[in-house]
Symmetry: C2
Subunit: 241 residues, 2 copies
Amino acid sequence: MSDQNINIPEVSVDCVIFGFHATDLKVLLLKVDDSEYWSLPRGAVSRKESLGMAASRVLKETTGIGNVFLQQFQTFGAVDRYKHYSKEQTKAVLESSKKEATESLSYQSTISIGYYALVDFEKIAPPFKEYQWCAISEIPNLLFDHNDFVDMALVSLRKDLRYLPIAKLLPEKFTLRDMQNLYETILDREFDRRNFHKLLMRYEFLIKLPEKRKGGANKPPNLYKIDVEKYETALQDGISY
Amino acid sequence: MSDQNINIPEVSVDCVIFGFHATDLKVLLLKVDDSEYWSLPRGAVSRKESLGMAASRVLKETTGIGNVFLQQFQTFGAVDRYKHYSKEQTKAVLESSKKEATESLSYQSTISIGYYALVDFEKIAPPFKEYQWCAISEIPNLLFDHNDFVDMALVSLRKDLRYLPIAKLLPEKFTLRDMQNLYETILDREFDRRNFHKLLMRYEFLIKLPEKRKGGANKPPNLYKIDVEKYETALQDGISY
């Protein structure tokens, strides 16, 4: 690196991929080959692409996941981001990167733009063997400052909940109870069933399907799907809860 | 610049400084010397500082303003950020920078981290003659994509209003009507006076002062100040309106 550029920080995109299963909010983690280290999928931003493009590309390249809802939530750039980790630890996770071309940049990266993705857990199987879904409450120590990324992504998800298409975390067909579980899990509080359902129905973005969910012990609950256009309109003003 | 680093984007911090006067939300703009061009205060991020430190430093160096509430709201990195401007326009504003050392970086910057500041309009006089307060509704065409910065800062301010110490936009002593004006201006909607005041008082962060505001035609209204500790507690859970 030339002296002229010694002060220029490099830039990466780091992704918190949220999925929802049963009553657990989960995050997709990358286990570094033959090591005990975990991290989030990440990659360097090139000068030739927008940040949104970079986030999509990194997600696709590292996990195979494409065409999902991605939201920028915070940019991290503390000077001591790596202080908790040895050079060997940092190197280990970066060497597991799928893109050789970005390795040398990633290693030096001091600024990372955090994006989170909202994905349908049932559709996204862990793409490679080194990936694993992990419940929010059980996330291990991650490399770099990636625990901060998960924490802040969750804070952001909670703060912006009214404006976010969190139904993307549900399968295409779901019950009102599923939707309530999702809100309750993200917000870590309980809602009165009757009031919550009434509130949801008020926005008119839920389409009741002729089908019911089979297999349960009790009366089978109705299935619903999202009216995308009405959902987007409701999200613009914010969905109160 | 060496070939090795050709893909590394440079990073700057760009600041939207909000002030509030009468019933106008205003932004502090920088007029480029001897030109018709306006921009936001900005500066390059060095590798030796955190982003928050960089934002504070840039704000202090470019405007003289220190010790204010700063909030990161979005990072911009579209590849076509400069397409609307000629090389001369871009050069003009960058040459007006107070810090020579950062000029060469700024010129090439393709990633900018947006911060907004909430300041007391009465305390912050435009620091240099080339700075001017401008009402949100009257902001001219700005250099780079700075109009997007102002727009997105406002979107962010509105979305996060429940959690933000917007009282920092008011003078130390203010009336309930001042506070209502502030909410109404930011949200661009009206509140019922009685309900709004009742709502505010519920949070108990307003301290009623023995003084009243003088000089008005009607009955002089009571002055209030913020109980900082209670205000911070209320903001943690969010202040509903």
